[in-house]
Each structure stands twice: as C-alpha cells, then as structure tokens.
Amino acid sequence: MQLSGAEITIRCLEEEGVEYIFGYPGGAVLFIYDALFQQDRVKHILVRHEQAALHAADAYARATGRPGVALVTSGPGVTNAVTGIATAYMDSIPMVVISGQVPTAAIGLDAFQEVDTVGITRPCVKHNFLVKRVEDLAETMKKAFYVATTGRPGPVLVDIPKDVSQQVTEFLYPAQIEMRSYNPVVKGHPGLIRQAVQMLLEARRPMVYAGGGVVLGEASEFLTRLVRELGVPCTNTLMGLGSYPATDPQFVGMLGMHGTYEANLAMHHCDVLLAVGARFDDRVIGNTRHFFVEGRRIIHIDIDPSSISKRVRVDVPIVGDVREVLQEMQRLVAETPQRLDPVALKQWWHQIGEWRGRECMHYERSDTLIKPQFVVETLYQVTQGDAIITSDVGQHQMWAAQYYKFDKPRRWLNSGGLGTMGFGLPAAMGAQLAFPDQVVACITGEASIQMCIQELSTCKQYHLPVKIVNLNNRYLGMVRQWQQILHGNRYSESYMDALPDFVKLAESYGHVGIRIENPADVEGALREAFALKERVVFLDFMTDPTENVFPMVKAGQGLTEMLLGAEDL
C-alpha cells in the first residue's frame, strides 16, 4: 500500500501496539499531525510543554513496561524535550521519541527551527536516527522500538525531515529485525551462575542489593522467591523500590545516601553481596575507597557489561537478563539440599536486628507543625499502600521513598539518575492514562511543582484525576539541607519567595485546592481528596520548613559514616 511518510509513522506506532502518544505540534511535524487526525487508533495527548510530553511518555513506560512514545517538532520542540530524554536515559527507560526536522534540502543551512537534533541528543539516547529517505522509514521505526525495548532499555530518537513525512512509498512493516551490530545478551554464563549460587550458599553474612534492573526486567517475583528461599536480607536502591516487598521482614529498607542504618551497615559488613540490576551508583555506595572491604565477595548480575566493574571490582560478573539469571539460580538452589549455615545466618540476623534497633526512621512528631514524614505515612495508610506514587526531586522525594512502603514494582515512579525537578506531575499523567482506575498521587515540593505546573491544564483536558501532595516547606529543601550541613548555614538562594496561592491556582485550572496547616487535618484532607475520584486535587501541606532527611551520608563519605538525626549535626 502506498502511504506518506507521516501515515507510515502512525501505522508503525499502530503495529507496535502504541496506545498513547504524547506531543506538541509545530511546522516540521504538520504532516504527521495530519495523519494522526485522520485515524483514531493511536490517541494523542496534547501537553503544555514538550518536557512534559517526554516525562508523561516515560512514566507510561515505567508504569506499564511498554515503551512510551513522544512526538515533538524541530528546533525548540526538540530542545525542550532534551531534559525529558536525558531523564529517561539515566534511568534506562524504553522510549521512542519522534522529532520533526526541517526538509532534507534545508538541513545545514540554518533553516528556520533547525537544530542538529541527532547531535544534541546523541549523548543522552541509547541510539538515534535521521531518516533521509521515506523508503527507510518503516524499517527505522522497527529498529527504534527494537533497540529501545531490548537489552538495557533506553530512549531512541527518530528524526524525520518534513519532506520525508510528505513523500509516498510502499508501506511494509518488517515483522522482525536483525542488526549485526546489536545483539544484547540474555542468558547468563552457566558456570558463573553456578559459582554464584555456591558462593551464596556458603555465605555467613549474605546480602542482596537489588536495583532498577529488577523492575525493568520484570523479575521481582523471581527475586522475592530466591531471597525468601535463602532467608537472606534484601535492600533496594531508590530505583529498585517495589522490586522486593517493602513490608516483608527480610527487607531492610533502601540503602545509600538516605538509606537506612541497617541497610548501609549490612552492605558494609556482609561477606557475600549479590548485586542484581543495580549499578553501584555514587549516591548508593558513597566513596568507592571506603566501600571496598577486604574479603567481601561480590556477585553482579547486569544485562549491560559496562555496568559491571565500572566503579567497583566484582568477583563473579554475570552478564545477562535478571529474569533469566534469577530463574536459573533458583533452579540450582532447588536442586541442592544445601542451605546457608543456620547458626551463622541467625547471628547475622541478630546483628541486623541490633542495627534496626537504632530506629533510624524515627522522627520527632509534633502537634503544631506538619511533619513531611507524617504526611507520607498518612498517605500510605489512606491509600492502603496501593497507589502509584510519582515524585519530583528533593527532600519530599526521599521522604516518599522512605515512608511509603512499596510492595509491588512499577508503583514508584521517580527520576533517580538525572534527578529532574518537574518530573512528578507529567509522570502522574502518564501513569493515570495507563491505569485509569488506579489511584495516582504525585508527591512534590513547592519548587519542583512549579517546573511543570502548566500540566494542570492537560489534566483538565483529559480528565486525569491525579492527586498532588505538595510538601510545601517554602524552601528548596534539599538545597537548604546541604547548605545547613555543608555550607555553614548560608542559605544562598534556597528560599522560595513569592509563592503562588496554590489553592487558587488549582482552582483557576478547574481543579480542587486544599491548604492544610495543622497536623490534625492531614488525614481528613487526604481522605477528602481521594473521595473526589473524578477530580484533580491539589493538597498544599504547609510543612515544617526546618525538617531534614536522615539518615544522610555526606557526599564523598563512606556508607557507614551516617548522620542519623539533628543531634549528629
């Protein structure tokens, strides 16, 4: 069948089963928008800023596991999208981004709204393509989805010049694609897997450290089974939260800069560490020299060879898909009657129990000031732990991670690697579209929310009843915390002056706004908000402006050098 490049683009999306495309029109994509208009299978969501299109598509992918798709115009459309592309790249989120480009004949002539899109995005995509001939379009789209969703996932951009979207050719969508230069590994090395299982079974102080790769690889179930079968402690990175049930007694909490006392100490004192789909990030292990422990052996499972032995040398490197490798490990464990030494394991749990006894998540309660931790705890109770939570970046993000207990994967959507303020609200939209019947709440701060606040309008247009939990401390709280602890209380430009009246702001977009100033009103307000099932509710909690996130490992320090509370300052 003869179709235009624009029609081919949309047909490819259809072939890939794409439900929603998030975007914003402009000159270079007018033919594609025209093709969108003339069909009704792929639904377009018109955002209010391209950054939001990217975050919404990204969160759709995080919530469902299916690739998110965004469409932007050339020039400023692309540059606005870059933050969103980089956000997805850093967290390995599968996404296909379609961008318009000036006509092929105009490329390189400083044409109107021309930017070197492939050049600008190159360092923050898994791969990108400039389609120069309409005959190559369908195959390129196929490659884009294939590359984005296989191996270590990531965003792939397809840049389509305007004339290519207009030209006509025969449409043929390849059923399968092979690329000689791209063959991600799936199965792990059997000998190394065997060695890993043996090492774990012989451990006296074992520890499992699981990250975003377990969520991305749909392997939570296998992780949970293996950890339970072996009776060993498990921690999660910020990106891994939900990959192991947080309410399980074997879960020791998140680790890292703002991780629990017990998780960080167990990381340091274990004798065998199993790292699964986690990349030894600097916010997780702190100073690498301090992280090194003589005699501790490390097993590392990751689909990306370059994640292995990047920051930390490991003893058993297993390149493969977590799901496959964990399944294989489980099979080997089931085959042998050998289990970990019960006496050693008991002692180890006893030690962990002592560390837990420090109650590092304890915070001062108050009758007069709203403690942000209390808001998150109450949110957890009111939603019965079953909401999809998105967040922005800052203290509120850490409190969300610490006090909302995620028992399932894909319920916690946040920007970990890039740390992008502005992610939360558009992410909530993407998640709500994917799961219209789910409760979706965005935990944010008064600064972050203002970075994509315009999306309140998109929520209205598409009836996306997300709930916004604004922990309003009148500060760039995370910045203020560092200034307090590391820069001698000099609060340089971290006070959020001239804040809008968020209640009126929400109302002006056609939503409900509630301001909460007393701890006694927290629960009632949350219940009221969640009762309004069809509405966007903006909950503006006036929280204690001096509250800090603890525990805290200062940048550059070791995991065991934690500040546990204000008394440590």
């Binding site: 492939v118 050049g119 190159r122 360092p123 898994k126 791969h127 400039l130 590359v147 690329m179 000689r180 230069s181 791209y182 990306d304 060879p305 370059s306 032995s309 990047k310 040398r313």
Partner: protein, 163 residues
C-alpha cells in the same frame, strides 16, 4: 599503557561522531583515530590509539561495544599485530641540504614524492617510533610542514577481524 583498538562499524553518517563523542564525554584519551570504508562498503574500519589502565581499557571496550553502530571491537594489544602510519614531510631543500635529506630519507626507506627548487616532500610509512625517529634525524629548522595519518593496525597471521 598505550593500546591500539580496531573497530568495525556500520558505514553510516554519524558513526564517527558517536565514537568521538564517547571518548570526549567519558574523558578517555585519543592519541589518534583513523577511519575509512572497507572492501565491504557497508562497513568502516577504525583504528584508535588510546591509553589507560586495565580498568579504563575494559570500560572503553565495553562502552564502544555498547554503541549500536559498532559491530566489533578488538584490542590489538591482546595479540601479535602490525601498526603502520603514513607521514608526509615537506622540507626546505636547497644546495647541499638536498643530498643530505635524500640520504636520510633513503636510510628510513622514505620516498621523495614531490620536488621543487626549494622543497622536497617525503613520504614515509612505518610504526610510530620509526616516524618519530625520522623526524628526529632531520634538521628541525628545515621542516616546513608535517602531516601524519595516525596509526592503522591489523592482527598478524590468522588473527582476522571481520563480521
């Protein structure tokens, strides 16, 4: 330590900038980089001379392999290999110096490929040290211009790199 990496990559626009971008973004050194299409026009062959510790080299190789356009990566240091570089040197060549330059070029098996009343242009191929040694043997005041291609490398004997 100095390493010679040999790459096969898709002969596509942008493949070179992906490799170059990777080196600059991650702070790896490039001593030289050469690239040209192979006998199979869909493939390019690239030689990169770089240096780094064993850990850095491991990351460089892994990161290169991760680039979607890269088909194969070999570290030629892992086996017996040849390294050749081409250099063109333009010399001031007048009077008695002409004979002297010619003799030096002969010793290094260089060829004079362009001649004027005042200049000689000498072509020389060889491993890097040979080219360096030749330059040292010349009178620096007489050198007008030099251009070097950077190293190309290939495995010896039956160590063959193809898709």
């Amino acid at each position: 330590m100095r390493h010679i990496l040999s790459l096969l990559l898709e002969n596509e626009a942008g493949a070179l900038s992906r490799v170059a971008g990777l080196f600059s973004a991650r702070g790896y050194n490039i001593e030289s980089l050469t690239v040209a299409p192979t006998e199979d026009p869909t493939l390019s062959r690239m030689t990169i001379v770089t240096n780094g510790s064993a850990e850095v080299m491991e990351q460089i190789t892994k990161q290169l392999n991760k680039l979607v356009d890269v088909v194969k990566v070999f570290d030629l240091n892992e086996g017996r290999h040849l390294e050749r570089e081409l250099m063109l040197v333009k010399m001031r060549a007048e009077g008695g110096a002409r004979e002297e330059i010619k003799r030096t070029a002969d010793i290094f098996r260089g060829r004079i490929v362009d001649v004027t009343d005042q200049t000689y242009t000498i072509e020389l191929t060889g491993p890097r040290d040979k080219l360096d040694a030749f330059l040292e043997a010349l009178d620096p005041l007489m050198i007008l211009e030099t251009v070097r291609t950077g190293a190309s490398g290939i495995g010896r004997g039956d160590w063959i790199m193809r898709v």
